[in-house]
């Protein structure tokens, strides 16, 4: 069941990004660029997603285990620390430059466009590099 429910979720997630036009970098840029004709689409997408997810997240907190796994993997960190803030800062610059964040980038990679594939390749390189560094530190 685990891979099956995961695959259903992957399909639904990608369809949601496509339906809401989050797979168009210009749409993201028009939200982030406050100097042009501002486009609030991204806010509606976030609102729709949070409205659906929040009540279930609240309910899940009261359950001891999920349907097809041994336990819930809730994030355990609580500190507002330098890696959190610095990482978010760096991510925002990359997002603002490209109009792509990880989910839409992976879905848009399906177009086979060279620039999109270069973005995804660079993103994976960045992820792997940071994970290698943190392994060394620990």
């Amino acid at each position: 069941m685990k891979p099956t429910t995961a695959a259903i979720a992957g399909v639904v997630f990608a369809l949601g990004l496509m339906l809401s036009d989050m797979t168009s970098p210009g749409r993201i840029a028009a939200f982030l660029d406050l100097g042009g004709a501002w486009d609030p689409t991204l806010m509606f997408v976030m609102a729709g997603a949070i409205a659906v997810y929040a009540p279930f997240a609240w309910l899940a907190r009261k359950r001891s285990r999920p349907l097809f796994a041994r336990r819930f993997h809730w994030p355990e960190e609580t500190a507002i620390d330098l890696p959190l803030v610095g990482g978010a800062l760096v991510f925002g610059v990359g997002w603002g430059l490209s109009g792509l964040c990880p989910g839409p980038a992976l879905v848009a990679a399906g177009t086979g466009r060279v620039e999109t594939l270069v973005f995804v390749g660079a993103m994976i390189t960045g992820i792997v590099a940071m994970r290698l560094l943190s392994v060394k530190r620990a």
Binding site: A14, L19, S20, F44, A51, L84, G96, A122
Partner: protein
């Protein structure tokens, strides 16, 4: 923004929320794309491997099929290869360091009322807006 675009954004967002609910209720995990992708790339993965691979393969495959059936859902990139390479690297480094992106911090974290996620979203929205606004003015 037309009423139709707003409705599509809300519905698309709701689908993303449904996908994240499936991931939480069925698999007990957080549907943050950067985290799912980053941990899937590790060799000493925990028992989350079937979930991660199932989710990511389905997400990417939906993009591949979607690009053929609905090419209009994929607007043009906003920048050339060099800028997207830099953007991708920053997104990969930043989301790994900051432990999340638009889905993990933005949708799931805010829904749970996580202080870390609220701070992360405020920081990456701010730097993305500054970056995109400067980029748009140049």
């Amino acid at each position: 923004m037309t009423a139709e675009a707003a409705l599509r954004a809300l519905l698309g967002g709701a689908l993303i929320g449904v996908a994240a609910v499936i991931v939480l209720i069925a698999n007990g995990r957080i549907a943050g794309i950067s985290g799912v992708l980053g941990r899937a790339l590790e060799t000493d993965d925990d028992d989350g491997r079937p979930f991660r691979l199932g989710f990511l393969v389905a997400l990417i495959a939906t993009g591949v099929i979607g690009a053929q059936l609905l090419p209009n859902a994929f607007g043009a990139n906003i920048a050339g290869t060099a800028q997207l390479a830099i953007g991708g690297a920053l997104v990969g480094v930043g989301t790994t360091l900051g432990n999340g992106c638009t889905s993990g911090h933005g949708v799931c974290g805010i829904s749970r009322g996580s202080k870390r996620s609220v701070v992360a979203v405020m920081v990456f929205m701010a730097t993305a807006m500054v970056t995109a606004t400067v980029r748009g003015a140049l």
